[in-house]
Amino acid sequence: MEGPSVEELLAKAEQDEAEKLQRITVSKELELEFDLGNLLASDRNPPTALRQAGPVPEAELRALARDNTQLLINQLWQLPTERVEEALVARLPEPTTRLPREKPVPKPRPLTRWQQFARLKGIHPKKKTNLVWDEVSGQWRRRWGYKRARDDTTEWLIEVPDGADPLEDQFAKRIQAKKERVAKNELNRLRNLARAHKTQLPSTAGMHPTGHQSKEELGRAMQVAKVSTASVGRFQERLPKEKAPRGSGKKRKFQPLFGDFAAEKKNQLELLRIMNSKKSKLDVTRATNKQMREEDQEEAAKKRKMSQKGKRRGGWQGTGGKRKGGPPSQGGKRKGGLGGKKQSRPPGLGSKRKAGQHQGGKRRK
């Protein structure tokens, strides 16, 4: 009589399972489409229940949302999981929905000179081991870097080679050679970069010291050297009687009088368009602010001068009436002149705007 009891047990077990699963199963006509990489689910079933509901189907929406979320969670719980620092983490697959990119695909960089040569000759990079056996220390050491296998810099004895001058400093020679290699490497890297971005490196023709350079060449080299500092030559001192270099400003380039008709037409039409547009070319508020700032700076410079002069003469004579009351009136007049422009509707670009030109003047008060 064990047969029926076994069957009963099995049936009961099945029933229990079904009950348990009932809590998490949801039945739908059409299966949902899942994109687990984006935690996304799309339900294609037509929303009939919602249509039957009244104008504000909150409860039905909530029920629909609950069902859909349950299905999505069921899918997510079936992903492979691992334990990371006491938290259960599921590994998500790649997102499958194709979305447009934000920026265009990056263009491939042009090959460097070495890569071109290697490709031509068919040279492939050899796989090198990270560690090399070092006889001197008797252990495996890095090929390069900290505590490397053959470190030149830590040698305490260098033999003078046969043909070399016995009074030469071999250590200094080694250091110099290393510096030259580093500089050459850097130069090649910059050249490769310039080629990749299609710009030109500034030419160094005539800057390398030979014994035979003319006065002009030397002068040019000296000028370039002066400007090649981090502050672009601003704090370089001149010799006592040295004069400032003439003509070192920017050279103005003028277009030929006639030649490129298409460009000329384009420029004229652009000018007409700007004149027609309702945006004002002169930003009045910005112009007034700039003017006021310049005045402030002039005042401050004058004050400094006066205070210096006063200190030298041994007395504090004050700023001679040029107090704060003075400038605004002059500035006001100047502003009036600028504010004579009729149309100044502020354009919608990102600048600190206040409507109207007169408010620019009120700022000071």
Binding site: G37, L39, L40, A41, S42, L61, T69, R101, P104, G350
Partner: protein
């Protein structure tokens, strides 16, 4: 990038603030009003996107003809790709619903319901735009207990209902928990107004994937209808005389037989000569 138009009212401003709260820390909310019309002049939007390096934007405005207007859009290479204008009919804000919210920066689950999202072209783009907007950064792993937040979009009778719920995981008999939802976040009832969708070739250009990302096709593998995978291996030419076969001990030549064989071979050679 969340921008207010010149005539944005309280509702629209609140919507933008709520979306900003959802999208922190990846969003930028501009406080000042900007007098532009996205559907007429896109230059100022493109300028903003270049400055803030954002390619998704939302622009809110309000006027008599289009009350409570919200324009969602995305850019490709700092030029407008798609823009869809939605009218907000009903809005319940985050602060109107008084309960605990989920922490900032959680990746939300997104669910779309309704067959409109797959049939109509406009709705398809809207779906793609909403996915782009609301999905968080792409991650490889996700903490199962950290799935707290679900955004549910339903397309019904020409309207789109947006609801956000907080997830409560309840015990069920088995490993997968039972879900209960609690309404948490902003809820919007939206109507589709104008659209400005990208031309087909621009869309195709924006979808271009670099070669490195395309899934690599494995060669010499084929599948048949039953699901069996067949592979093809190419062998080098084998020297069959040197083939390693099973050695049958019974067939091994005994020394006496080997001697007679040798003698036979010798006699054959002599004969030939």
């Amino acid at each position: 990038m969340l921008i207010k138009g010149g005539n944005a009212n309280a509702t629209v401003t609140q919507v933008l603030k709520d979306v900003y709260a959802l999208k922190k820390p990846y969003g930028v909310l501009y406080k000042k009003k900007n007098i532009t019309r996205p559907f007429e002049d896109q230059t100022s939007l493109e300028f903003f996107s270049k400055k803030s390096d954002c390619s998704l934007f939302m622009f809110g405005s309000h006027n008599k003809k289009r009350p409570n207007n919200l324009v969602i859009g995305r850019m490709y290479d700092y030029h407008v790709l798609d823009m869809i204008e939605l009218g907000i009919e009903k809005f319940v804000s985050l602060k109107d619903i008084k309960n605990s919210k989920c922490p900032e920066g959680t990746k939300p689950m997104i669910i779309f319901a309704g067959d409109d999202f797959d049939t109509t072209e406009d709705y398809k783009r809207l779906k793609s735009l909403l996915i782009d907007f609301f999905r968080g950064p792409t991650v490889a792993n996700i903490r199962l207990a950290g799935l707290e937040y679900v955004l549910h979009f339903t397309a019904l009778k020409g309207k789109v209902y947006f609801r956000s719920y907080k997830l409560l995981l309840k015990k069920s008999g088995c490993r997968t928990p039972r879900i209960e939802l609690e309404e948490m976040g902003p809820s919007l009832d939206m109507v589709l107004r104008r659209t400005h969708l990208a031309s087909d070739d621009l869309y195709k250009l924006s979808m271009k994937m670099p070669k490195a990302l395309k899934p690599k096709k494995k060669k010499n593998m084929s599948h048949d209808t039953f699901g069996t995978t067949y592979g093809r291996i190419h062998m080098q030419k084998q020297d069959l005389s040197k083939l390693q076969t099973r050695k049958m001990k019974g067939l091994k030549k005994r020394p006496a037989e080997r001697i007679t064989d040798d003698q036979e071979k010798k006699s054959k050679r002599i004969k030939k000569n």
